[in-house]
């Protein structure tokens, strides 16, 4: 049984995706979609109400987390069950440097991305070096995230369980990455992050390294046999993944202005990254963004639906938990109907 476990990872990913479709066949499509994202991102703050914009921010943060996860797990073929680690490192490094050192969150973000990258490369190197594979690898990433959460909870310098609160400044302050509540700047910055993350992914996937990474994912033995430096490519994709996820952590901190061990390193974070990417399409460049557009607002949509329930639901409305049950049912239904994710299904269809 264990042998089939080990064999699972590569064979599984092969089924997942159509790697080249994203990077070569439809390059023009990608640039078009990128431009579309930029335009929509630029215009949305003028259209949405503040509450909707706050949900839209969540879409961006989810999308960044999903893109980060997708790099490592979708393209790199290493199933991460602990992306909260990198998200948390991003948020906590920024918060610590801001509050205890007085460093601007922009710099804090860079440092956070560097720390997260180092941590990701370190843990992945160990895991690959010691041949921890498949679900064992997944659970080692999960344990790593938990370990960080528990470490922060016991560390006085990181305020234990009390967390960090970002002090509110008056007005807009670009240098300190902080704006007034109804400022569209957060959303624009978030859109900027998103575009950068997407472009980085596109460029990487089109590069030699990216193609080798995907070749490695699809058949590690063959890749190694023809001389591809498997370890190096796996670590590269891990590094990119962690950096993107850490940036999402900083964005979260600056927008929500509070972070504690559970928020930063809690298991819900890892789950959200996975849900977003799986729903959109694993191993699909546009999967996480599409997934985030559905997942992030979904619970609010359901809650909104229940505030003025249709007749067939009226009987149950007012019951706490109902919205989450409906949310869960929709999630399950989506996966059952589109096991390749939304983008995955579209790409598969259009290629036939």
């Amino acid at each position: 049984m264990s042998t089939s476990t080990a064999a699972q990872a590569p064979s599984v990913s092969r089924r997942t995706s159509t790697p080249m479709a994203a990077s070569t066949v439809s390059m023009r499509w990608n640039w078009f979609l990128l431009a579309l994202t930029a335009v929509v991102g630029a215009l949305l703050p003028f259209i949405l109400t503040p509450a909707e914009l706050s949900v839209a921010m969540r879409v961006i943060i989810f999308a960044l987390m999903g893109i980060g996860w997708n790099m490592m797990s979708g393209f790199g073929g290493m199933f991460s069950f602990g992306h909260a680690a990198y998200f948390g490192i991003g948020a906590y490094t920024t918060a610590f440097l801001l509050l205890d050192v007085g460093m601007s969150p922009w710099l804090g973000m860079i440092v956070g991305m560097a720390v997260a990258t180092a941590a990701a490369v370190g843990i992945s190197y160990l895991a690959l070096r010691y041949k921890v594979k498949g679900a064992y690898y997944a659970l080692s990433t999960f344990a790593f995230a938990e370990m960080l959460r528990l470490f922060v909870m016991g560390n006085d310098g990181l305020h234990r369980t009390l967390g960090f609160t970002v002090p509110v400044l008056q007005g807009d302050n670009w240098g300190m990455f902080q704006f007034s509540a109804d400022s569209p700047n957060y959303f624009w910055i978030g859109t900027g992050f998103l575009l950068v993350a997407l472009i980085v992914s596109m460029v990487f996937l089109r590069s030699r390294a990216g193609r080798f990474t995907i070749a490695t994912r699809d058949d590690e033995m063959a890749a190694a046999a023809i001389g591809i430096p498997v370890l190096r490519h796996k670590l590269t994709v891990t590094a990119i993944s962690a950096a993107i996820t850490a940036a999402a952590g900083t964005l979260y901190l600056q927008f929500y202005m509070f972070v504690d061990p559970e928020i930063a390193f809690g298991h819900a974070v890892s789950n959200n990254a996975i849900i977003t990417a799986v729903l959109g399409g694993v191993g699909m460049l546009w999967g996480p963004l599409v997934g985030a557009i559905i997942v992030a607002p979904l619970s609010d949509l359901v809650a909104a639906l229940l505030r003025n329930p249709p007749e067939w639901l009226a009987l149950l409305s007012g019951q706490s938990g109902l919205d989450i049950v409906i949310y869960a049912v929709i999630l399950i239904a989506c996966v059952l109907v589109l096991p390749k994710g939304i983008v995955g299904t579209i790409v598969t269809r259009s290629r036939k």
């Binding site: 089924r15 498949g134 370990m147």
Partner: protein
Amino acid sequence: MAQSPAASLTPSAPAPNAEAPARPKRTYNGPSPRTLLVTLAMVVTASVLAGVVSGSVTVLFQALITGLLTGGIYSLIAMGLTLVYGVLHIINFANGAMVALSMFLTYAAVSGLGLHPYMALLITVPAMFVLGAAVQGTLLNPIMKAPIHTQLLVTIGLALAIENLLLMIFGPTPLSVELPGDHGVSFLGASVDLSRIYAFIGALVLVALLWLVLHKTRIGTAIRSVAASPEGSRLVGIDVKLIYVLTFGLGAAATAAAGTFVSTFTTIEPTAGSVFNLTAFVVVVLGGMGNVPGALVGGLVVGLTEQLGGLIFPGQSPLLTVFVVFLIVLFAKPQGIFGRAS
């Protein structure tokens, strides 16, 4: 440190280890004598260290006994998880929610029908078997060919749905089930409740039962065959999908037993099962995914590590040691302490 607690479970959990030599190739690889010696040395060191740091023999005894007993509870809860992973390669995130569901079923049976809590097993086990089989048949069988994260997503959704349905039906106020005649017993100043000892025995019995089912019945043979090779099993005429359904049902039934035992000593709330999720994953990996006796051993390792670690590193969360040990063991033995699955 890493494997230290493993040593002490050798005397305390003879059942699984005794079975190992009988079928050395097919069941699981027991630790080598060297590993045993090293771990024995480490558990003694850890215990001495814990004793010195805490400065009290009573505290140390309590930690060791509590470690073993909570370890038993962890393995009870992880049993279904490991079975499902071993055969279906599904990480069942809904395991904790299913434990909670079983706890509420126990509550309903005890308060509604006036049953003795352990008699509720007669209801919870079959009910959860049916539920588990239904989940596999309707939700998971159609996506068995999909990647592991797709199935994970379904179980995450399932967990949310179960927990919140329980909240809707039973409300938020914590409930409890009392075990008649439950009281504490003392041993060298350390003290434990009978209900926890019974749960520990329950874990042993459950391991034995599952082992018997897997190794001494035709269905068990089919399950193991599917676990080893679904394609090969199909070729020899086994209905693989049916085996999947039965396995998930069996896993759910094991989880049901866990829920009933646990309900006698903790509060019954919709989230009462998911608090075990994290440790249950660790237990499953340490024991070797799919290795039922391994889950028992893994549970004891985690239980002892948690307790001794809590003593050695005061002010830190006891679970921190568990996860550090977990990572070290994983790197040292990427297939879990006890290697391959049964």
